[in-house]
Symmetry: C2
Subunit: 382 residues, 2 copies
């Protein structure tokens, strides 16, 4: 059985004093220190990063990792757009499943704020289909299309979306590493400017710097000597690059497939899950995720979002995005999927301080690349 045995995250935000290398360094040595380990205990590194080549002129980050750890071990850099971190984690679990006793460091990192927002938006859009880029579609545009279709199909308004932002901003006030610690009201979200109708600035995750790292192991000695959380499943699926080629744009097929495989692998039902980290790059994405993962029936998401059912103080049992989600904790894209695993680790080891979900035993993380071209779903349990 594979397990997570340690976690560290840098602050997420506009970190002017940090480079991509220094973020990776802080996260790697942070998790080693937190786990009372040093590089000699690590057999391989999986690195999630999307834009190192495009924004930071840094490819072959594997050699940076080697130089920083002082160890010539295998390093695998994975790129799956905004699911790069989640896929690095998923691939690392496959690597461990080969059976040798191994301990692997998974690090996700992105350094985005050294460039202009225009360039960052254009760079992120390289994860869209070529045909979409050529007609000027960016990710706010793609998710705007999905949001509009969802609102029209199920008779909701922009206000229903706004509650996701309000909830996640409230959660982020309890997370000292979050990019934003500002509570938001529905009125504030509704009053913010459009980026791609019906989505507004305050429906959208920010541009962020940050890195996060976990250590995972299948070595019984390593697992028993640490506070550990079992990795019950980690699955990935893909979908078409073009939104126009899908039969339904109010759900993500990749999420559905990865989720079904993960629940089957974990031998759990939806009622077993206590805490979720979801890919809310835009508010609509969290609503679609709740439906595609099977927690809410199709079309119910708008109404349930407005009830703030997944808020930590809600009377409903399931809590989503205690970290603040991508929306309010920030979205350094390569780091996000690893931070999600780490947030579950904190929750399931009862170390989530003022945002602790009581008696959390099982958690699910959901990380998406592009408009759903890749999804990764992982289920953890104590």
């Amino acid at each position: 059985m594979n397990a997570v045995v340690g976690y560290y995250t840098t602050d997420f935000g506009e970190l002017w004093e940090h480079s991509l290398d220094s973020l990776i360094h802080e996260a790697m040595y942070g998790v080693l220190h937190a786990s009372n380990m040093d590089p000699k205990h690590v057999d391989a590194v999986f690195l999630g990063n999307m834009l190192g080549g495009v924004l930071n002129d840094q490819l072959l980050l594997s050699s940076h990792v080697c130089q920083d750890l002082g160890k010539n071990i295998p390093v695998y850099r994975m790129e799956a757009a905004c699911a790069s971190g989640g896929l690095a984690f998923q691939a690392a679990t496959e690597y461990l499943s080969a059976g040798k006793n191994r301990t692997v460091l998974v690090v996700g990192a992105e350094k985005m704020t050294d460039q202009t927002p225009d360039l960052v938006t254009k760079s992120l859009a390289t994860a869209a289909a070529t045909e979409e880029q050529h007609v000027g579609l960016t990710f706010p545009g793609l998710y705007g299309i999905m949001a509009q279709a969802y609102l029209e199909r199920f008779g909701y308004t922009e206000e229903h979306l706004a509650y996701i932002s309000v909830k996640n901003h409230d959660h982020a006030t309890r997370n000292k590493h979050a990019q934003f610690h500002i509570p938001m009201t529905v009125d504030q979200v509704m009053a913010s400017m459009y980026v791609a109708k019906p989505l507004k600035v305050l429906d959208s995750s920010p541009i962020s710097d940050g890195a996060a790292a976990v250590i995972i192991s299948n070595d019984p000695k390593v697992i028993s000597s640490h506070q550990s959380v079992r990795i019950l499943a980690s699955e990935t699926a893909t979908d078409t690059a073009e939104l126009a080629r899908r039969t339904d744009i109010t759900s993500l097929q990749s999420t559905k497939i990865a989720s079904n495989k993960a629940f089957k692998q974990a031998k759990l039902t939806h009622k077993d899950i206590d805490v979720l980290e979801l890919h809310d790059c835009f508010t609509i994405a969290e609503i679609l995720a709740m439906e595609d993962l099977g927690f809410w029936a199709p079309g119910k998401g708008g109404a349930y979002a407005k009830e703030m059912r997944t808020h930590i103080n809600s009377s409903y049992p399931l809590t989503a995005n205690t970290s603040g989600g991508l929306k309010a904790a920030g979205h350094p894209v390569g780091a996000t999927g690893v931070k999600q695993i780490g947030e579950l680790y904190l929750q399931l080891t009862q170390n989530a301080s003022e945002r602790q979900v009581k008696k959390a035993q099982y958690g699910l993380a959901h990380n998406v690349g592009g408009s759903g071209g890749v999804a990764v779903v992982s289920i953890l349990g104590v």
Copy 2:
């Protein structure tokens, strides 16, 4: 036991009529057709590509692969600079070793010639250390430093390097997919202009477009129903990003470590190997590879290169780069490491036509990222 069960390569060269997507498409359906398979037989895809984000505005290529295959399977895009293809193959072997019966398509691709050589050289240089980039070092410069150190240390001349180019150009005349089919003389190589002294244009691999794909499997039914070649070992190691941080710049530590691990895993000695595909991004690199892999003693490479010991018509038993190598077959960087495996597959199944090494039973492929920041060494056998 994992095995290679099929191979396809596009032509390598300046392929104006091809996009990155169409190269990937041709290679994937080419290898499926060659293997009498279709997408339903494939459980996952590993994709090696370096510069999709930088040169082609295409990240999240996983979704392109899904769309092209019409199948929502896991797709892993690996980036390790010029070792992206080799590392995709290596990671795929780890994935298979998890034990489930699986069949995986490994594809490597790069589309480089749509951009100016200046931009390509700058983009490739993102695989150098930040400090190296800042002082203006490109890869010709880095390998030029290594070449100069080697020539000075062991008392060789630029002419010794030239023979590697002559040999590989001669081999490429027998490979219809090679970028160049022009035999070269030592005089021609020596008369070509310097790109980074002591390295000249004709010491250097070209800028290329191309894609290559192999299908690998651990499923006994799949293996027994195809011409198959066993994967006896595939290992990777890393090294510092900065050349200046290494104790020796006339050898690559990453190659040595990966090679030692691979021979140990394969339970073979150097004398068992019949055919090599080596990472000759520059002529010096093939000489260093022969020494670092343990085939030639340190410092002997210059003399042995001049004797053309690894030419297919040489009286010595070991043949290197029958494909023409990176130098003459071309170097679409993400494709190179996969093409190397494919060339060994052709040799070991006795399908290498006019460049067939007689009775070839064991082959070794060696793929390098950057100035040695990553190396992958794989050993195959019938």
